[in-house]
């Protein structure tokens, strides 16, 4: 086992998959010699060359579409969008093309592409560089959406995403890149569509993902000292959704809060809460609650930015209202 950073775990996954399969290649802005804005692709150009580690001009829509085309003819592209906010420029290629090609062609053409990106607030990057837009992709049939919270999950899931024959949206978080965690030294993969119970508990379930997983764990640790046992379920994959793990936890504790950084309105928390209430109503002590980002754009000033997204304190308060 080694303790490595989230961004190093992603770098490792990319390197391993590119060694394993010569058809895997990566494209994005500033990913080659520059190594990527968050250094995820650092050094890969040295091992794999500039024919497989490809810098792009600022042409989000078209290099995303290029990934669809390359995938259709048998290559395996992994593209990077610097910020999830920029994926909006490529929405036709993601939603109308990548997500639908296999369906529209009657199963003739799979699109084995991975679109990596990152989102989230907390760095003072303001409204156009701090969003959480997973709800857009979650909503679209034909896309798989993965949001890992730890180096271990990031590495294992990125490898599986690259081997998957369907288009995968892989959303990292800017505040996670420098966090560390243990990963095995041997190669490993993790299954798409399986949530992970990061902490077991019996009083309240927190269903969460990405950076909020860390906030939930922080809150759970504090609550443990008050004698409240919190279970933290990290979705890891948003769709395909792991109903089994989530419902099992909901039925066990009877009290559920969905926690996400994305704006509450139209965030996936609403969908998850509805689903749990529809299917596990009799086992619940009360309605499923949501603790989510405020319905606002993210401001520049760091103090007002901070209160836009859930904090450990807010999560603790939320749990206390339920027990």
């Amino acid at each position: 086992m080694s303790e490595i950073m989230y961004r190093e775990a992603l770098n490792r996954a990319l390197a391993e998959e590119m060694r394993r399969d010569p058809l895997v290649f990566i494209m994005g802005e500033g990913i080659a010699e520059f190594g990527g804005t968050y250094k995820v692709t650092d050094g890969l150009w040295k091992e794999f060359g500039l024919e497989r580690v490809i810098d792009t001009p600022i042409a989000e829509a078209s290099f995303t579409g290029m990934a669809v085309g390359a995938a259709l003819v048998g290559a395996r592209p992994v593209i990077e969008h610097l910020f999830v906010d920029f994926t909006l420029l490529a929405m036709d290629q993601i939603v109308n093309q990548a997500a639908k090609y296999n369906f529209m062609s009657g199963g003739q053409g799979t699109v084995p592409m991975v679109m990596r990106t990152q989102g989230g607030a907390g760095n003072g990057l303001a409204a156009q560089h701090s969003q959480s837009l997973e709800a857009f992709f979650y909503h679209i049939p034909g896309l798989k959406v993965i949001m890992p919270s730890s180096p271990y999950d990031a590495c294992g899931l990125l490898k599986t995403a690259i081997r998957d024959d369907d288009p995968v949206v892989f959303i990292e978080h800017k505040l996670l890149y420098m966090t560390t965690g243990e990963v095995p030294d041997e190669e490993y993969t993790l299954p798409i569509g399986k949530a992970d119970v990061k902490k077991e508990g019996k009083d309240v379930t927190l269903v969460t993902y990405s950076y909020m997983t860390l906030k939930c764990l922080e809150a759970a640790e504090a609550l443990e000292k008050e004698g409240i046992s919190v279970e933290v379920v990290d979705l890891r994959t948003l769709t395909p959704f792991d109903r089994e793990t989530v419902l099992a936890s909901a039925r066990k504790t009877g009290r559920v809060i969905v926690v996400h950084e994305a704006c509450k309105r139209g965030g996936i928390g609403g969908d998850i809460a509805s689903m749990i209430m529809e299917e596990a109503y009799d086992d619940l002590d009360g309605p499923v609650m949501r603790i989510a980002g405020k319905n606002t754009s993210i401001p520049y000033n760091l103090n007002i930015e901070k209160v836009c997204v859930p904090s450990a304190e807010e999560i603790i308060e939320g749990v206390l209202t339920m027990v």
Partner: protein
């Protein structure tokens, strides 16, 4: 920008091959119009009538394992790339025996076997994809090329500029085939384009741009062959602006009353099918082609009419827990 309008000697075998494609496309589209009026085809489709020589010429100039991607007006490219007419009509009629199992229909018809990446319902939607197919070819290290069909309308879209620039910097084996039929639904290209010499948009990004008569199959064939050779030699992309004109409105239900009737007459007098037929001396071969296509189409229509619809229950089961 070089204007190519001279015809060199092309073998009669090639001329007959192109005639077969053009005749098949013409009869196919007219058959679809009939089927539509009789209620067998629902929704809309966009007939390629009048433009047949572009797909026919281009597809004859490339190899079977080269790729194409096309537009919402995609029947002609699909026929010319060699699709089974039975499976095409079945698809356009939404039957489960169709190329895409009735899921895609006219605007999304594709055929993996023919390396036809498909028609596309988003104007310009296929341009980046075709460009990416070129990148995929490079990664795989083969000598294939891509003919990336799109319209004058699409050439004003952002993705066109991005894609042709990307093809330029990466030296991709992509032939950008701009089918200039002078209309985007009802909007004239003279209105939409700041500079109507659309072929000039290639050199702006470092890609040679040429203009050809899109109704002259031989001209399209020669230009495509030359572009394919360039691509295979590692010299990158070419932009070919092929000029043509629709014989009707934008889609099967659009009478096209906004079209310039004088201009339409002029273009119809240069019917691509007749222009090519006039170049061929072997009338026996022509007759054989026509008879063979006519009977193939008859069989195709019967096949499609007798094919089952997709099973609703089966479809529901596949999506109910998605």
């Amino acid at each position: 920008m070089v204007k190519k309008d001279k015809s060199t000697a092309v073998s009669e075998e090639i001329l007959l091959e192109m005639y077969k494609r053009i005749y098949a496309t013409r009869r196919f589209e007219l058959t679809c119009v009939d089927l539509y009026r009789q209620g067998f085809i629902r929704g809309y489709f966009h007939p390629y009538l009048g433009e047949e020589a572009i797909a026919a010429g281009a597809c004859t100039a490339i190899e079977a394992d080269d790729y194409i991607i096309s537009t919402h007006r995609g029947h002609g490219h699909c026929v010319s790339k060699g699709a089974d007419l039975k499976l095409m009509i079945a698809e356009i009629m939404g039957k489960s025996t169709g190329l895409c199992k009735g899921r895609g229909g006219s605007m999304h018809i594709s055929c993996k076997e023919d390396n036809n990446l498909g028609a596309n319902g988003i104007v310009g939607g296929g341009i980046p994809i075709g460009t990416g197919a070129g990148m995929g070819i490079k990664i795989r290290g083969t000598a294939q090329v891509v003919v990336n069909f799109f319209s004058d309308g699409a050439s004003n879209n952002g993705v066109f500029a991005e894609s042709i620039n990307l093809a330029s910097i990466y030296r991709l084996p992509v032939i950008f085939m701009l089918e200039n039929n002078h209309y985007a639904v009802g909007t004239k290209v003279e209105y939409s384009a700041g500079d109507c010499h659309l072929a000039g948009r290639g050199p702006a990004y470092g890609v040679p741009g040429i203009c050809v008569d899109g109704n002259d199959a031989v001209a399209v064939y020669e230009a495509t062959r030359e572009a394919a050779e360039r691509a295979r030699a590692g010299k990158g992309a070419t932009l070919i602006e092929a000029n043509t004109y629709r014989h009707g409105g934008h889609h099967v239900n659009d009478p096209g009353l906004y079209m310039d009737q004088e201009l339409l007459k002029e273009w119809k007098a240069r019917d691509p099918m007749i222009l090519l037929k006039d170049k061929i001396e072997n009338t026996a071969a022509l007759e054989e082609i026509e008879q063979s296509i006519d009977s193939e189409l008859e069989e195709a229509v019967a096949f499609a009419k007798n094919s089952p619809e997709p099973d609703v229950e089966e479809f529901l089961q596949s999506v109910i827990n998605a």
